[in-house]
Assembly symmetry: C2
Homo-oligomer: 475 residues x 2
């Protein structure tokens, strides 16, 4: 445990930290109340729980002194909103969290009921504790403490709590576009997207982008009898298999011309940070029964975060039911996803894949493009971005260690959506940890994370206040 005193906090900020430390018990009690509400967005049977969670949050946002407290509707589950705009000239931070949780099934595997919070050895067990009611509580209580102790926050705040994160945010884009003026901000602080490691401080500085392609290969007008035609004609499955096999070299590297175009080589700092990240590569593979395979010259973690990749997500053709059917199939389909890195145009990359498939499609066969989604480019928080600088300063002071920059292999949909719709960047600053069984039975959140998180959020808001709003843009 850290001491309550922060070596760098000014007196006002220190008072907020002390206030939060003193309030640990009511904060946990409030979180437990929040966790008792079964706000499962995926199951209509839990609609009353969703409604209760919204009313619970509206009440809290009003109680801590936010303004414009309301539900924002996009056609699906509404978001809960509240703001505090009392810091003119200071940056405006949207604070993102979500109040919906995953279904608790399979119930039989829970040691304690999922919606009856139970604390064992400093771990608070409940559905949604780690994902993400715990970190959402940290963010809200930090704001509450600033308002209670100092009568205001160091920055302007727009709290935005989504209700559809666990169902893929189907109406989020419409909701944000509909309330664009209200949601205008300089950056997003997300309570979702937790710490990458309990051992070292990390800052997520971006994610790979992606693009998708679906193709259909045809070798004849109809499926043919394999007795009457087998050995005489092209078989769509043989040809599709040959096409798919041609996409990668035997060593795992992508063989498509133009696939790596524009890819910025990993910087020495990126490679050093990746190497410094505590990461059990053997466990990474053993956990999922997978085996190490991919572009030579890079570690597995480098490959999945710093290098582009090409995966077939689905492949089909011919007879796939019970038993056998003696046909020469006339058609085969494949769905593919390209993951792209900084510097790459995902549209250009996926079109290079399509060109490769077309060029390798044999005579007598046709290749149809069923879908081509140009997708999203890789996202990057520049090292000089105030979100990164501020987080680095806070985490380094708190831990005594220089934070490691980490990147994600997959983009975070809400981060990409806020960038596209509002043009602003997101810092993920949740305090959950990777081992807390999110989306699984016996999900838990470490109670110690509440005080650590509240300290860090307090220092972060104070730190961010030192950057002029314009510095958050144009990266």
């Amino acid at each position: 445990m850290h001491s309550t005193d922060s070596p760098s906090a000014d007196a006002g900020t220190q008072a907020v930290i002390d206030h939060l430390a003193a309030r640990q018990q009511p904060i946990v009690a409030w979180l437990e109340d929040f966790l008792r509400i079964p706000s499962v967005s995926a199951d209509p049977a839990f609609a009353p729980g969703m409604d209760t969670a919204r009313r619970f949050l509206l009440e809290r946002l009003r109680a801590i002194g936010l303004h414009e407290v309301q539900l924002l509707d996009g056609g699906g589950e509404p978001a809960v909103y509240g703001e505090w705009n009392g810091a003119p000239g200071k940056p405006t931070l949207m604070v993102y969290g979500h109040y919906d949780v995953q279904p608790a099934d399979p119930l039989a595997l829970w040691r304690t009921p999922p919606f009856e919070p139970a604390t064992v050895d400093g771990r608070l067990y409940a559905r949604g504790s780690s994902d993400v009611k715990g970190s959402t509580t940290i963010a809200l209580e930090t704001i509450a403490a600033f308002l209670a102790v100092r009568g205001g926050c160091p920055v302007n705040i727009k709290v935005f709590l989504e209700g559809e994160e666990e169902t893929g945010s189907p109406s989020l884009r419409r909701l944000v576009e509909r309330h664009r003026a209200l949601l205008r901000a300089d950056a997003v602080l997300s309570a979702d997207g937790g710490r990458a490691s309990a051992e070292v401080p990390t800052i997520n500085t971006g994610a790979r982008g992606n693009a998708q392609l679906e193709v259909r290969l045809r070798s004849a007008h109809k499926d043919l009898h394999s007795g009457r035609y087998g050995g005489g004609v092209r078989n769509a499955l043989h040809e599709m298999a040959r096409l798919i096999a041609s996409l990668h070299h035997a060593d795992g590297g992508v063989a498509v011309e133009g696939f790596h175009a524009g890819a910025q080589p990993p910087t020495p700092r990126q490679r050093a940070d990746t190497a410094a990240f505590p990461y059990d590569e053997a466990a990474f593979f053993a956990d999922v029964g997978g085996s190490d395979h991919g572009e030579p010259g890079y570690s597995a973690r480098e490959r999945i975060t710093l290098r582009p990749a090409l995966d077939v997500n689905g492949l089909w053709g011919g007879y796939t039911g019970e038993g056998g059917k003696t046909i020469v199939p006339c058609e085969a389909g494949a769905k593919l996803t390209a993951r792209v890195v900084a510097g790459q145009d995902p549209g250009a990359v996926i079109r290079a894949v399509l060109r490769h498939l077309q060029a390798h499609c044999p005579p007598g066969c046709t290749l149809e493009t069923v879908a081509l989604h140009e997708g999203s480019p890789a996202s990057t928080l520049a090292p000089a971005h105030p979100l990164v600088r501020a987080a680095e300063a806070v985490l380094e002071r708190e831990s005594g260690r220089r934070p490691i920059h980490v990147r994600l292999g997959a983009s975070v949909p809400v981060t990409a959506l806020f960038k596209e719709t509002l043009g602003i960047d997101t810092l993920m600053f949740g305090f959950n940890l990777p081992d807390e069984d999110v989306h699984a039975p016996n999900e838990f959140f470490r109670l110690a994370s509440i005080q650590q998180g509240a300290r860090a959020w307090t220092l972060l808001l104070a730190e961010l206040a030192s950057y002029p709003p314009a510095r958050f843009h144009g990266h």
Copy 2:
């Protein structure tokens, strides 16, 4: 049209031929009555039609003087049976036909109603006319004519008319095994399996055998997120595609070690007969939109009849529904069929395929054998078999041309079944032609085929009488 006189028929046989020629009109009338009965085996709504067809045939078999006329039950649609055993010391021929027909759908495409026979330009249009009530009628009327004109047949006869041919003969094996003693014979003459060409006489001397395999490849315990794992781990679909692609050389030849083991090279006569067969290779491909591809050094027709082949019949894995799903699939499946030729052990061939797949399965992946069916070897009617000799003699005398031996790419299930259950060979001696739209709207049968067929069946029965029964066995 041929003349009624056969240069080689003895007086008794000629009298039968003359009788059949004189009876052309009542024979066609009886066939039309047969065609009016909607005996669709696939659709339970036509059960009354099936029953009517059986009673219609039982009545006819009794009327022409067969004995033991009865239905034989195997648990499905019964077969219609009758016999004539008045030629002691002569061979016993089972005469096979079937009284069930394909469904007539799509009805809208018929120019005349499918169960109201209509003759236009010498073609008798009706469902089942070509497949196979026409040729069944030829066989029955030939027997009837022998019994009427000469009081007996040159050989012993066991008429066996199946009711499940169009539904895959689900109970035929049980039916034959249950009535094995009754069905004992020296060979089968089948009214099904028509002429391969209108231009040249052909004799079918066999078919490829086959064996089947289904495998499942696994690369991980579960599907993985393609963002978090893509580029890091093996993808089951990439690996399965690589395995499937490895089965064939780029030129189309099979690359599996041991796949061709035992295959008898096509004999000069087989290659000459294949070349002599009137066959429009361009039309063969154009009809189905397929393209010429396979083992180098052989024509397409040689490849599909005289050479083994390996086809993937089904291939699947990952997400195959609408839209996309960004996964690294953990599992892929494939179904394969090997077609084997004379001299090959289908079990050995399919195990060679399995060994190839296992040997090429990459480290970290597992390959499971879901099913391995050793199948059936190729069937062959030896050139010296009395069925072949007799058919050759008849067809050469009738046409003035030496019949071409043809082989089928796919085995005929009933031929294989009679060989397995009764140990006897089958000669396909139907008189339908390949262009008669079987299994399609506006199916027709050429009326001229009735007299040609009846002459040939008359001569064939007489010719077969010259072989002692033992000569039909041990080939």
